[in-house]
């Protein structure tokens, strides 16, 4: 996973340099582009393992660059943007971004997100076991164990946690979760989601009020975190 090649598309020289230093010192291979045009060209010529994309590029709207990349590029894309509005984040996730970080960001957080995105990209085909420390989710056996004891879950609760765990580290939007679990007619029935998240946290978290695995992304969705 280390030595993974990362492409940075950002027009701010200082941010590019900061990212290069941070990533290279964590033994990633880094290439960077200043414009959408350069970024798309480099991505096509040497497809990287992960792309970090800024939404505010001078020559093209970041959302449209994201859509163009997603026409053929299947590996993780992490958005880095000063735009912090929930609409913007939801839109980018809908257009296929794996994650979204708002500037200013903490480099530790960025590295964690990159590793998590690379890990889940590598895990996609195999490994039915999601190991989250005291919590184990076996997607093949359809069981959830907490401290080695089976947690009794309803069918919906299981669907929810397995969906979140399969996309470990990635934000899943409210709309996405509602559509996948309840169906397209339930996209606006977010109260169902709230109920099941609360129930699930009571069953799988050590302290439901201080969740360590099922995290809230304010106004956007939920994220499953495996570590700890």
């Amino acid at each position: 996973m280390n030595n993974a090649a990362i492409l940075i598309i950002d027009d701010e020289a200082q941010i590019r340099r900061l990212l290069e230093i941070t990533l290279e010192s964590n033994s990633f291979k880094v290439e960077s582009a200043e414009t959408a045009k350069d970024g798309l060209r480099i991505a096509a010529n040497h497809p990287p393992d992960l792309i970090i994309l800024d939404l505010g590029l001078p020559d093209e709207n970041g959302h449209s660059v994201l859509k163009k990349l997603r026409e053929w590029y299947t590996k993780p894309i992490i958005i880095l943007s000063v735009q912090s509005s929930e609409e913007d984040i939801v839109k980018a996730l809908y257009n296929g971004a794996n994650d979204y970080l708002v500037k200013p960001f903490r480099t530790g957080e960025l590295l964690a997100r990159i590793r998590s995105a690379l890990r889940s990209a590598a895990n996609e085909e195999n490994n039915p076991l999601v190991d989250a420390g005291d919590l184990q989710i076996d997607l093949a056996a359809r069981t959830v164990k907490k401290k080695n004891e089976i947690v009794k879950l309803t069918a919906t609760e299981y669907k929810l946690i397995s969906l979140l765990a399969q996309h470990e580290g990635k934000v899943l939007t409210h709309q996405y979760l509602l559509r996948e679990i309840w169906g397209p007619g339930y996209i606006n029935q977010s109260q169902y989601l709230r109920v099941f998240i609360a129930q699930l946290r009571k069953k799988v978290e050590t302290d439901a009020n201080r969740p360590e695995h099922i995290l809230t992304e304010s106004g956007v969705g939920y994220r499953f975190i495996a570590k700890e």
């Binding site: 919906t156 998240i197 304010s218 106004g219």
Partner: protein, 385 residues
């Protein structure tokens, strides 16, 4: 009393142009008619004074042109109905002719002068308001430049030190400088966030994006984000177990709670307790059922989310309580680190939900009460599917 008069005057000056004409003409005709009915008892010279008084009163509130119309009309009416020979515009004696001419001139001067006085008054008022704005703006700039420049100064100073490559700097000192830079940049970011929130509020751009919200989740989310600031303050959270879900903007209400808890943690002594209570208030409106006298029917039920945050600190000086929600307001001698925007953002975001925020002093502290009327769903209290 005086203020009621002023208020009425202000209301009257805002009457539309066409109505001003109608009202002026009606007033002149009314007082003339009154005088005419009394003409057996009142001399026509006294009538002139009554009409002049009417025109002067009109001049106090209305624009120049309706007043001029009223002045001319009253002169003509006086001539036609009251000066001998009556019901002609003919003036009998030279003395009456002179009186009529004087009446006309005095009425016009009256109208023009009153109007000029009003104009000057308006200019003075505008100037005063402008000066008030400038003063407010200056306070704003002072407070802002201080709050923004302090962290910038820290960053510039610390980086200069590090870049100078001075060998006297111990590893320990270097680390401290870097930590200072980190704290200062986070503080700078917080200030910018506040300014952005404020400008969103000022532009009237805030449209709450309401969605079902689990208050429990929201409260603990905020508490989690403030872990660092709250670590020396015992926090007692009391959320009603039967609290429904509310349809509100998660991000905005999160910011409201964040700012209030942040203040409670920063501006009260260490180890001072903080109490957070969340409950529901239901207002039921009944309608009498006409078919049976004994039963009233529930017409409308409205729910309000009530969140109370109480601290054990010095409270607020009574004279300042009304001002704390004003923009850029800061208590004297408070710690640095605020732009005085936090509480006005609280107020703005709460009001964007048609809610209200109040502050009162309680024994040993201050209490903020947030009330947000919202749609509710009790689906969370149903059993598992």
């Amino acid at each position: 009393m005086c203020s009621i008069w002023l208020y009425m005057l202000q209301r009257l000056t805002k009457v539309s142009k066409p109505s001003q004409f109608l009202i002026s003409i009606a007033l002149v005709i009314l007082s003339a008619a009154g005088c005419y009915l009394m003409s057996g008892y009142v001399d026509y010279k006294v009538v002139a004074f009554i009409l002049l008084l009417t025109v002067s009163l009109i001049a106090i509130v209305f624009d120049i042109i309706p007043v001029l119309v009223a002045a001319s009309l009253s002169a003509l009416i006086w001539n036609f109905f009251f000066i001998e020979p009556k019901f002609t515009f003919h003036v009998g004696t030279a003395e009456d002719g002179f009186l009529f001419l004087m009446y006309f001139v005095i009425a016009l001067i009256n109208a023009v002068l009153t109007n000029r006085v009003r104009k000057i008054e308006k200019q003075v008022r505008e100037k005063e308001e402008k000066e008030k704005m400038v003063r407010l703006y200056n306070t704003l700039l002072n407070s802002l430049s201080h709050e923004l420049k302090t962290p910038i100064a820290t960053i510039v100073g610390a980086t200069d030190n590090l870049l100078s490559g001075s060998s006297k700097l111990s590893e320990e000192n270097k680390l401290e400088l870097v930590e200072n830079i980190s704290v200062a940049s986070l503080r700078l970011n917080q200030q910018v966030e506040n300014l952005l929130s404020m400008s969103r509020l000022e532009s009237g751009f805030i449209q709450p994006k309401k969605d079902w919200t689990d208050i429990n989740e929201l409260v603990y989310d905020v508490v989690h984000r403030l872990e660092q600031q709250l670590k020396n303050h015992p926090l007692h959270i009391n959320i009603d177990e039967k609290l429904p879900f509310y349809k509100l903007d998660y991000g905005l209400v999160e910011q409201v709670l964040y700012n209030l808890l942040y203040n409670a943690a920063i501006y009260t002594p260490e180890y001072g307790e903080i109490f957070l209570t969340a409950k529901n208030n239901t207002d039921k409106v009944y309608r009498m059922d006409t078919s049976s006298a004994e039963h009233s029917v529930l017409k409308k039920e409205s729910n309000t989310l009530v969140i109370i945050i109480e601290d054990r600190g010095p409270g607020f000086p009574l004279s300042e309580i009304e001002k704390v929600f004003d923009k850029f307001y800061r208590l004297d001698n408070t710690k640095t680190g605020g732009t005085g925007l936090g509480l006005s953002i609280v107020k703005g975001f709460t009001e964007a939900h048609n809610g209200s925020v109040t502050l009162e002093n309680v024994p040993h502290g201050a209490r903020f009460t947030i009330e947000i009327p919202a749609e509710t769903s009790y689906i969370n209290n149903l059993n598992n599917e």
